[in-house]
Amino acid sequence: MSDARLRRVNKEIADCKNDKSSKIVIELIDNSPYHLRGSFTGPEGTPYEGGHYEVDIVIPESYPFQPVKMKFITKVYHPNVSSASGAICLDILKDAWSPVLTLKSTLISLQSLLCSPEPNDPQDAEVAKHYMTSRSSFEETARYWAQAYAGAPGGGVKGGAKGGERDEIAIAGLEKAHVDQFEALGFERGKVIDVLRRLNYRGENVTKISEDKVVQELLKN
């Protein structure tokens, strides 16, 4: 049984090495074949384009009869990915897992999840709300994250890719004018960002949420 698991995993790693066309990479992290790192590039025509996304892969004892455990190592701004932990909400990683799915096919599914978010089944409710409220603002933020964390090419990020100075307002998907407005009232910048992000102070919502409401939230705790 565990022999079969080892044989299959080794075969999968080898198959992926031999297949250069899919551009999916699976590497060993240490010497164990059961803890791997997968990576792929962000799909074209999406805010993730050009980014390099790494995924932590843990192969459970009863693989392939039970699903592989995957989460993003690279930070991703996406409704079905936790912006904090990288946890992924995808049916094939849970109930809809089938033993004929492979590490490679699952990574490809993750790649296509980046193309087609499912905001109605969110892992990150705040990001999902952002996506539903203003698609363009959401995409801007997702693109900023791709540049800031996944090394996607692009102008917006000072210092270019990883490690550079990041704009915390852009990361929160907010507008500088809004943050400035409440900061001017004497609130700490970090707190303003936190509250506005939680309130989803974007797009149409800006007109719906009164300033009093924001101040009320800012005064809490």
């Binding site: 079969a4 044989r7 299959r8 075969k11 009869f65 004929v100």
Partner: protein, 476 residues
């Protein structure tokens, strides 16, 4: 005949014949058997008829028996889909001069299960294919094997989309099971001989080590066993099915036969138990036996009882024979006795929590009967309204618990039933000798509340003045 053996032509023919037979035996190891005597070579050919992709086969009544017996024509034609037909048996004698000058002699033609009428045409067509100088046996075998002979003799016809085989037969309904059984066996033996790549372990296995599931997906038995054993052990009965991703998404589960072929009897039993458990959990009419040590699922009795008669509440546990009421889960209290209120109240409250026409309500309606529930709800609401009215409009006597309603007057009450004095505001028992102390002592909760404010008129009576006048009237 001995003279022939000297003939150089005959010697060449014999060599050619032996060569041809050797080739046939290596191509069709199971179809050819030969016997040779001094003068001639005899061959028995058993030629399977393969139709490739499954084809529609109509077996039609040829009229030979139905006319004679005058039987009805209800079963005059049957249709089935086949990918093979029972073999054609040919007995062939190769004359010494075959293949240089004479063709093979066909000594008999037989079609297994006699699915084809009239062999004469076949006989003739076979012999026409011979051309002096060339071996014809391979051509014959292929012509029969790939069913070309059916086309040339008019049994197989093609229209735009499909090829249809039409076989006249005296008793279609007798031929039908034979053809279908032969086809099944044929497919099975073909499956065992082929190799398949299991998409779970990626290894190539002989069909005998694999299982073809009803959905058409093939997995090796080891992988099916590994997965199904795990799922059965973990109680994950939904996943005991095809392992393919599309089938998993559709929730395609294995049949009992498939499960039996893969896992042990003990696991089959557990799988069946899990399935039954799940079925009961999904079925709202099933309740669990209230005996703590039993808890077996008790389905609704199959015989229908009139809804509203009270009998529909009776359940008898098939496991421990305990008879109980499915509403209150207590020992059966007969059809006429209502359940103790608090227990049925729980059901009613749950029912009322769901909006009208919702799935939640339907589940309870299936379990308890909608008429029953409606009646219970009505009674419950009436009781509740009564209760509320009593609470807001009356006070319980602290001695005999009779509810007393005050129509007018002061709050000092004397129970009409047991003559106990009590306060209508707080229900407290009052001293017989000095009942008004309760209302006149500062600091008491009913101080100065002998009359309710609302009842004080414009005259602005003071309580202390009023008591003497009202004393006679204040019995509720």
């Amino acid at each position: 005949m001995h003279t022939f053996s000297e003939d150089p032509t005959v010697t060449t023919c014999l060599e050619l014949q032996r060569e041809e037979i050797r080739v046939l035996e290596s191509i069709y190891p199971y179809c050819v058997s030969t016997s040779e005597d001094s003068s001639k070579v005899m061959l028995k050919l058993e030629i399977p008829v393969e139709l490739g992709d499954a084809k529609t086969v109509h077996i039609v009544d040829d009229g030979s028996t139905s006319v004679a017996s005058g039987s009805d024509h209800d079963f005059s034609a049957v249709t089935l889909s086949l990918s093979s037909l029972p073999p054609v048996l040919l007995e062939v004698i190769l004359p010494p001069t075959y293949p240089l000058s004479d063709g093979p002699l066909i000594s008999s033609i037989h079609v297994v299960d006699s699915w084809m009428p009239r062999y004469i045409l076949l006989h003739q067509q076979l012999q026409e294919q011979f051309q002096p100088g060339e071996g014809v046996l391979y051509t014959w075998i292929e012509w029969i094997r790939n069913a070309e002979f059916l086309r040339e003799s008019g049994f197989l016809t093609s229209n735009k989309n499909a090829e249809i085989i039409r076989l006249p037969h005296p008793q279609p309904q007798l031929l039908f099971p034979r053809l279908s059984e032969h086809d099944k066996n044929q497919q099975l033996s073909q499956f065992s001989q082929n190799s398949y790549t299991c998409s779970v372990c990626f290894s190539s296995r002989k069909g005998a080590q694999c299982l073809l599931l009803s959905c058409g997906h093939i997995f090796c038995r080891d992988c099916l066993q590994g997965g199904w054993q795990l799922y059965i052990a973990e109680g994950d009965v939904e996943h005991v099915g095809c392992l393919d991703s599309s089938c998993v998404k559709e929730g395609r589960e294995a049949s009992e036969e498939e499960v039996r072929r893969v896992v042990t009897e003990e696991e089959v039993q557990r799988w069946k138990w899990l399935r039954q458990k799940r079925m009961f959990e999904r079925d709202p009419t099933v309740v669990h036996c209230p005996v703590a040590l039993c808890q077996a699922p008790v389905p609704q009795p199959s015989e229908t009882v009139e809804e509203g008669s009270g009998w529909e509440r009776l359940r008898t546990c098939p496991s421990c024979n305990y008879s109980f009421c499915s509403f209150c889960k207590r020992t059966w209290h007969g059809s006429l006795v209502d359940c103790p209120i608090p227990l049925s109240e729980k059901v009613i409250l749950e029912y009322l929590e769901h909006p009208e026409g919702s799935a939640g309500r339907r589940v309870l309606e299936t379990r308890f009967g909608s008429r029953n529930l409606t009646r219970m709800v009505l009674r419950y609401q009436e009781n509740k309204a009564n209760q509320q009215w009593l609470e807001s409009h009356s006070m319980k006597c602290p001695q005999c618990s009779v509810q007393v309603e005050k129509s007018h007057g002061c709050n000092h009450m004397t129970c009409a039933k047991c003559k106990t004095h009590f306060c209508y505001r707080c229900g407290q028992r009052l001293s017989v000798n000095n009942p008004y102390q309760h209302f006149s002592t500062p600091g008491q909760k009913c101080y100065q509340k002998l009359f309710d404010a609302s009842e004080l008129g414009e005259d602005d009576w003071q309580p202390m003045e009023a008591y003497a006048i009202m004393e006679e009237n204040n019995v509720g």
